[in-house]
């Protein structure tokens, strides 16, 4: 039986970050992800905002870890080579009655330790964001707010964790966790059992199921769906900051936020649903997003729509993060109920958990730990000289596969070859951006399938959209058959 010092359950941003932070210590670390790829749940589908920290109730773990996490992003983005911009956040008020509400947010932020918050009037708002609706009369400005690519961050954490010695297993759903009677745990993942001195529960919408197996301090997670629209990057220059709304009579506001890739996110809705995996979008939800986003952005260009998506937040009935060891399960650590501002808090949660685990296991520091991970150099962000140099080194850089995002064959091959690399078309899409642009893989799909088949050494009939049974084709009509599926 495999023995680890620490088993992490769940390969979202918190799990992968915790894996990386644990490799700062001399510990054998394994991470198990049930889905075909890491970053498949909430970490993939959220607002991609690094929150300033004025929203969470003072005194909560959400408030505390939000503010600590936010401050970590500059260093982290440098170490892991991920896109991060401190572009500021704005909360719009659409009537004078909203101004006291904005001031309340300022005070809440001050109590949480957020710096630089202030209420700005229409004129300054217009200067800052000329394309915001004329209906907005004032706003809260939070200069420390930022944006990050949540999946880039998660993949970077995982790559760095593996580089520093962690093992990451995918398609390895944890079906059982129990005490081994000697102070440790037995974890059944992907049909195999392994032993762990400590367990970290980062199982997202399933975190309650995992916790409730080992602790009587039960927690309950409600899957809360949020639906989004994405608008093409040609509109990305319209807004600088992430723009929130104060709640109005119409309900909780939605966000209009530029992403680090210059697309614009509109959303989310918030709807409690029974099925933890139901990531479908609905006509009603999408309509609601548009109706409310139009308060911020008056003429949303429908011809700019690229796609829609939904994410499932793990809302905990305690309405706060659940972190650390329950009283009755020593060496079992929770990171449960990690909903917004979970992405912002994730780096801080990971450090906190890793330190707690290391302390309890009396682990020594790992002197070989290297915090640096390099991103795959992207053709689209290079200047002419960099492009020429990249092509001279690897001619695959001269072969553009995804024309909307200018992604080269070199990048696609590299994202498959990397640790915890892509195994599916969506895996390539989220790592290298091929297929994420305005044509949504209309042109590059077949080529990406070919490259995946070559790199993975499987027939094209085996290639999936996102792992599991999401096969892209039902069979072969002609051409060589290398013994694919029946």
């Amino acid at each position: 039986m495999q023995k680890y010092d620490v088993v992490i359950i769940g390969g979202g941003v918190v799990g992968c970050a915790t894996a990386r932070e644990l490799t700062r210590y001399k510990l054998r670390v394994a991470l198990f992800e049930g889905a075909p790829d890491i970053c498949s749940g909430q970490s993939k589908a959220n607002t991609a905002i690094v929150h300033a920290g004025f929203d969470a109730k003072p005194g909560t773990d959400k408030a505390r870890f939000n503010v600590i996490g936010n401050a970590m992003f500059d260093t982290l983005a440098r170490e892991l080579d991920v896109h991060f911009e401190r572009n500021g956040s704005i909360v719009l008020a659409f009537s004078d009655e909203g101004i006291p509400e904005l001031e309340k947010l300022v005070w809440r932020g001050v109590a949480n330790g957020v710096k630089g918050l202030r209420v700005i009037r229409a004129e300054e708002l217009r200067n800052l964001e000329p394309n915001v609706s004329a209906k907005a009369v004032a706003a809260l400005f939070a200069p420390s707010g930022g944006i990050v690519s949540p999946y880039e961050l998660t993949f970077a954490y995982a790559e760095n964790a593996v580089k520093n010695g962690a093992a990451v297993f995918r398609e390895a759903p944890v079906t059982d966790v129990r005490r081994d009677g000697r102070g440790g745990y037995l974890v059944r993942a992907g049909g195999r059992e392994c032993a762990a001195r400590a367990v970290v529960n980062c199982a997202g919408v399933h975190a309650d199921e995992i916790n409730n197996r080992v602790s009587a301090e039960r927690i309950g997670i409600t899957p809360r769906r949020g639906e989004y629209h994405i608008v093409d990057k040609s509109y990305g220059k319209l807004f600088k900051s992430a723009i929130f709304q104060l709640p109005t009579a119409m309900g909780k506001g939605v966000l209009v936020a530029r992403t680090v890739e210059d697309t614009i996110l509109l959303g989310p809705t918030a709807e409690d649903i029974p099925d933890r995996e139901d990531k479908s979008t609905t006509a009603g939800g999408l309509a609601k997003v548009l109706e409310r986003a139009a308060l911020t952005w008056e003429d949303i260009p429908r011809r700019g729509f690229i796609t829609t998506f939904s994410g499932i937040r793990a809302h905990c009935d305690k309405d706060d993060f659940v972190l650390g060891e329950p009283g009755d399960a020593p060496l079992f650590f929770n990171a449960a109920g990690i909903e917004s501002p979970g992405l912002t808090a994730a780096p801080a949660i990971a450090v906190y958990l890793a330190e707690s685990v290391a302390q309890r296991l009396r682990a020594a520091e790992n002197p070989a730990f290297d915090p640096v991970r390099k991103a795959i150099p992207a053709f689209r962000t290079m200047d002419a000289d960099e492009r020429a140099a990249a092509i001279a080194k690897n001619p695959d850089y001269a072969k553009i596969v995804c024309r909307c995002e200018n992604v080269s064959e070199a990048e696609i091959r590299e994202c498959i070859r990397r640790p915890v690399g892509a195994r599916s078309v969506d895996g390539v899409k989220f790592r290298a951006r091929a297929g994420m642009g305005r044509c949504q893989s209309g042109f590059c799909l077949t080529r990406v399938m070919e490259i995946l088949a070559e790199e993975l050494g499987v027939p094209e009939t085996e290639i999936t959209k996102s792992g599991g049974g999401s096969y892209l084709v039902s069979g072969r009509i002609f051409g060589e058959e290398e013994g694919g599926r029946a």
Partner: protein, 417 residues
Amino acid sequence: MREREVGVLVIGGGPAGLAAGIAAKEAGCARVLVVDREDAPGGILKQCIHNGFGLQAFGEELTGTEYAERYIEKAFAAGVEVACGTMAIDLTGGRVATIVSRARGLETVRAGAVVLAMGCRERPRGALATPGSRCAGVYTAGNAQKLVNMKGLMPGKRVVILGSGDIGLIMARRMTFMGARVLACVELMPYSAGLTRNIVQCLDDFGIPLLLSHTVVDIKGRERLEGVSVAAVDETLSPIPGTERELACDTLLLSVGLLPENELSSTAGVRLSPATGGAEVDENLQTAVPGVFSCGNVLHVHDLVDFVSEEAARAGKAAARYAAGETRPRGTVPVEAGSGVGGIVPQFLGEQIEGDVKLMFRTRGIYKKARVVAERGGREIYSKREMILVPGEMVGVTLKKDALGSGREPVRVRIEV
């Protein structure tokens, strides 16, 4: 970085680019370079193994691949340089392009004139914002066509087609030939966007129902598509509650419109028409950027490739003349789309016209026993009675040089019922 100079640079080696390249060469341009991002020229015709091409251009019925082959052979015979696996990644208003290829790396191309012939792309699912699951099994019709015809891979076995554009109709027949069951072709509008002959030959002949004024309102399936909900729509194109029905299927093909691929044109400062999604051009196919011409589906989405070739040849010839020093600015006399007329090309005319001028457009709806009328300064300069006009088929209006006359008076085209 390598640099080279050419007389005419053609971006895109599909039917438009090839015809433009050949015409530029025939017009006397010594160095004509056609770049194409794919590994072989021919563009979308490479995957069009069905017939119906060339009736207008050659008076015979060819497959798409045969049609392309004729132009490819002609281009090589004429001495047009065709660089495949080569993508234009930048274009300036000064007609300097950056191209990249595995064979030659990055290159700067300075061109006397440029012909934009990048074609179009299919509207994806996201553009419709169709709700539901993002499972596998949802393809644009063109992508499915590529899988089947070029890769020998079968997208699925039980198929619903959303949208009745020509590629969708063609794929209804192709998937049926390949052993799939096509349950229905679902069209939002009360009429099809495709050619009548395709509805007859690809749907009717195989008993595939065409559900007009219907749409897909939900997409179901966790990993692979399991079914779609189809509902009728009202006059505002909104789904009518209570009319939903479930169709169990593993494949949904989308044929919901084509969008000219003008991202590169925009970087060069080319002005686009909101009505066509393509450049605003004059009768010589010149855009607002001097020396930059546009033709084929990147200019406006055509119904027949024969018209693409004809239009592209005019663009190629005009580009060669520009490169040879016969420069003149784009015309500024407006061509206006009147009642019933969709995006019209060209949008402008010169004050002095050299010959007959061909206008092309699509109607905004179905018109029976209607007249297509062109007027200038209160004079009727064209009138033709048509039995039926449908948006799926382009209307061509050839204005005689003499009837057109000259001057700054705009030309207006309308449908008279």
